[in-house]
Symmetry: C2
Subunit: 294 residues, 2 copies
Amino acid sequence: MGMNSRIEAAIAQAVAVGQGRGAVPQRLSSALGYATAPGGARIRPTILTSVALACGDDQPKLTDAAASALELIHCASLVHDDLPCFDDADTRRGKPSVHKAYSEPLAVLTGDSLIVLAFEILARQSGLAPDRVAQMILILSQRTGMPGGICAGQGWESEAEIDLSAYHQAKTGALFIAATQMGAVAAGQEAEPWFELGARIGEAFQVADDLRDALYDADTLGKPVGQDDLHGRPNAVTLLGVQGAISRLKDILGGAIASIPSCRGEAQLADMVRRYAERLTPVAPNVAASRSNV
Amino acid sequence: MGMNSRIEAAIAQAVAVGQGRGAVPQRLSSALGYATAPGGARIRPTILTSVALACGDDQPKLTDAAASALELIHCASLVHDDLPCFDDADTRRGKPSVHKAYSEPLAVLTGDSLIVLAFEILARQSGLAPDRVAQMILILSQRTGMPGGICAGQGWESEAEIDLSAYHQAKTGALFIAATQMGAVAAGQEAEPWFELGARIGEAFQVADDLRDALYDADTLGKPVGQDDLHGRPNAVTLLGVQGAISRLKDILGGAIASIPSCRGEAQLADMVRRYAERLTPVAPNVAASRSNV
């Protein structure tokens, strides 16, 4: 089974646990499936699984539980972020958002249920390796909640003054740090040496996002590049320009590859980061030329 | 330290972990404190701690972590239930609800953060007894999420047809079952024998709630008793009348006491249930007369 199929199977199995059978509230049960499939790129579980494989993947069930738990948290965050009181998004991944398709109460409950399910899925594997599972639950909770997880990241958006470094690490970096650290722990390795890889992938994601926004605007809307920062927050393109941001992206990804701890699958993991870099880098004429060096 | 102070101290310590220090989003941090203190009766952690004490309470830190985790989940559920898309409640425990005091986005994030914090607080104690902690995380997740926890209980309210037994057990019973089972597991005992005590306390809570509604209406609103079921769902008073419901409450609590598994603190625990029964039973002339027999 390829990695994508493995990850999809693990997520589907996890969601089925939450959906239940028999006397269950059918609409909420259905919404759990709707919110999690078909998925996006499954980037976070892919990174997690790649790190676990690089570390030997001696307990594949732990890896699968960790990968699906992480994706459930990501999906939950999308459902809640789409709510009318946040982004008020009518669509997500080309279909109506959960609150549009099911109702706002069911969207709140879908997010809540997916968060809880993530921890259940991990706890269910405790018999295999209680210490690893406990550590993964701790990592996942700290990268999801307050004061340093994605909840904190969203929380910064309600502040008058934003600590940009704390904001970006919580909002974008947190689940990538969880990905690399949980992947290592699932395979019996220490979490700490894997922090930097996750943090740098998170940074790269942020810069790539800024680039995509800027190029998208310039190409399709005719809006001047570098003036799209409606929220008054600096981004890589406004600070560095397009070429500068592309250089920055390459530097970050170079740093990410250099940070990979010594492990048996180090070379393949570096390849994975390079492939991931290609996915991250926006397709635009002046960008395509730089790609082969990333 | 008395049990109330012990529980309050544990909850305050848990909330402080989520609030963090330094570069944290201050309003969300503040909302976590606002949503959790001052608390209500802290019934669920009191039951949990009482069961742990009856079982020997050989790892008090586990008991405290479990009690505070359970209360965090309960507080999270109140914050989300008060949201405009659910009960649209302006006040809670005599002060503005979280979305009124802070904003709707911060109320969603407060609930999410408290759910996540509950699992973090448990996972942090894993070093003391990894197996007990893993089992408590499993119990708490199953009694909180889908398909059988309080999320499912709320989810039933979006269904055209409600399975009443599944609905009541998920909506009201779930966190009482978590209370008795987590209390036992915190002290190194099996969870299963403690299911019935939690389930019966949950049932008693439901009947007491129906009674309170009915008596409150009759005394203060002049609304005929037994006609207040706006949602078309049967309740104990409409089914049995006030005296019948009081009899039913006494039967359930008698059954609860009879179900207490053999343990060193069995007698004190039975006393706790009796005291709890007095708190549950509404104060009304025709009810006060029945109290001494509960």
